[in-house]
């Protein structure tokens, strides 16, 4: 089936350039993503940085990068909220699966067992 008219005709869709981020915004987001990645890698080589602080820092930057891509590049910030529910709901289930498996097998990133 041809995908020829749906997006432009949808009331929830956007005309070109309308309601979406501009090219300048995309470039700015990409620069921020690059800087965050550089900080993450640089943090590995900081001598004497406590392990729990390093793990917290890495997880925080990772979540920030994830959120930036989803919000701006995937346009979830500008799109219908129903799409956010469709994605974020299963994302929370996935996070629960990860935490449940780790708890089952006694694997903790920050806390020591016992």
């Amino acid at each position: 089936m041809a995908m020829d008219s749906s997006h432009a005709a949808s009331p929830a869709a956007h005309a070109p350039g309308e309601g979406h981020a501009t090219v300048q915004t995309y470039v700015r987001v990409a620069v921020v993503l690059g800087i965050l990645t550089a900080i993450e890698i640089g943090a590995l080589y900081v001598p004497g940085l406590p392990s729990h602080l390093l793990v917290t820092l890495l997880l925080f930057f990772s979540v920030l990068k994830f959120a930036l891509v989803v919000a701006f590049f995937m346009h979830l910030r500008y799109d219908n909220k129903l799409l956010t529910v469709l994605f974020v709901g299963p994302l929370f289930i996935a996070m629960f699966i990860i935490l449940a498996l780790m708890a089952l097998f006694g694997a903790y990133l920050l806390l020591a067992r016992g």
Binding site: S5, V23, A30, S62, M74, F87, A94
Partner: protein, 199 residues
């Protein structure tokens, strides 16, 4: 305005939510993919540090090389969004360039991963070696398969564009592909941090 609403009413792909079924379907698919990768990440983290024999992460993982490939994939997301913006404004010259560049960045990432996996095997780490080997090769391997699929999808769109069969009226085709492509990027953001960076 009335003509636009009439067009919406006539379009079988627009449901009562006012959203295109194909776009909603892609988001639902990405949600299910979150759970797929969540299971693999959870298994990797559960088995982390529990291998009886080596080699282990410190002997195998090449952080500088993987950082470079992570950066390549991250920047391919920028190229993808530039391709979508170009197609939306019917600038097919730049649309073709950005689509092809995104595919090439994706192909480079797959190349990095093939090199990395070959290196693992040379160092004695295979699926059968230990728990670290099986979980390490399955998780980034599954992701690499997704990236390879995305590259094929991007090249298909590029071929359509080269043959003059892709224009601003086909924005949704590119947008759905872009959603998939950004998803493989965010999955790598998680994998890169959890496997490669966290000690």
């Amino acid at each position: 305005m009335a003509a636009e609403h009439a067009a919406v009413a006539d379009n079988p792909n627009i449901g009562c939510t006012g959203l295109d079924h194909r776009k909603m379907g892609m988001w639902a698919f990405l949600g299910s993919e979150c759970m797929f990768f969540g299971s693999l990440i959870g298994t990797y983290l559960s088995y982390k540090g529990k291998s009886i024999n080596g080699p282990g992460p410190h002997e195998i993982l090449n952080i500088p090389l993987t950082s470079l490939s992570a950066f390549v994939l991250l920047m391919s997301s920028l190229l993808m969004v530039l391709a979508l913006a170009a197609v939306q404004r019917n600038d097919m010259k730049w649309g073709k360039i950005w689509l092809f560049a995104t595919a090439m960045f994706g192909a480079s990432f797959v190349g990095f991963q093939c090199f990395e996996f070959t290196h693992f095997v040379h160092l004695g780490l295979t699926l059968q070696t230990n728990r670290f080997g099986s979980t390490l090769l399955v998780l980034p391997g599954s992701h690499g398969g997704h990236v390879a699929g995305g590259v094929i999808w991007l090249l298909s769109l590029w071929v359509l564009a080269m043959r003059g069969k892709l224009g601003s009226q086909d924005t949704l085709k590119v947008e759905i592909c872009a959603l998939y492509w950004h998803f493989v990027d965010i999955v790598w953001i998680a994998i890169f941090t959890l496997i490669y960076l966290i000690p």
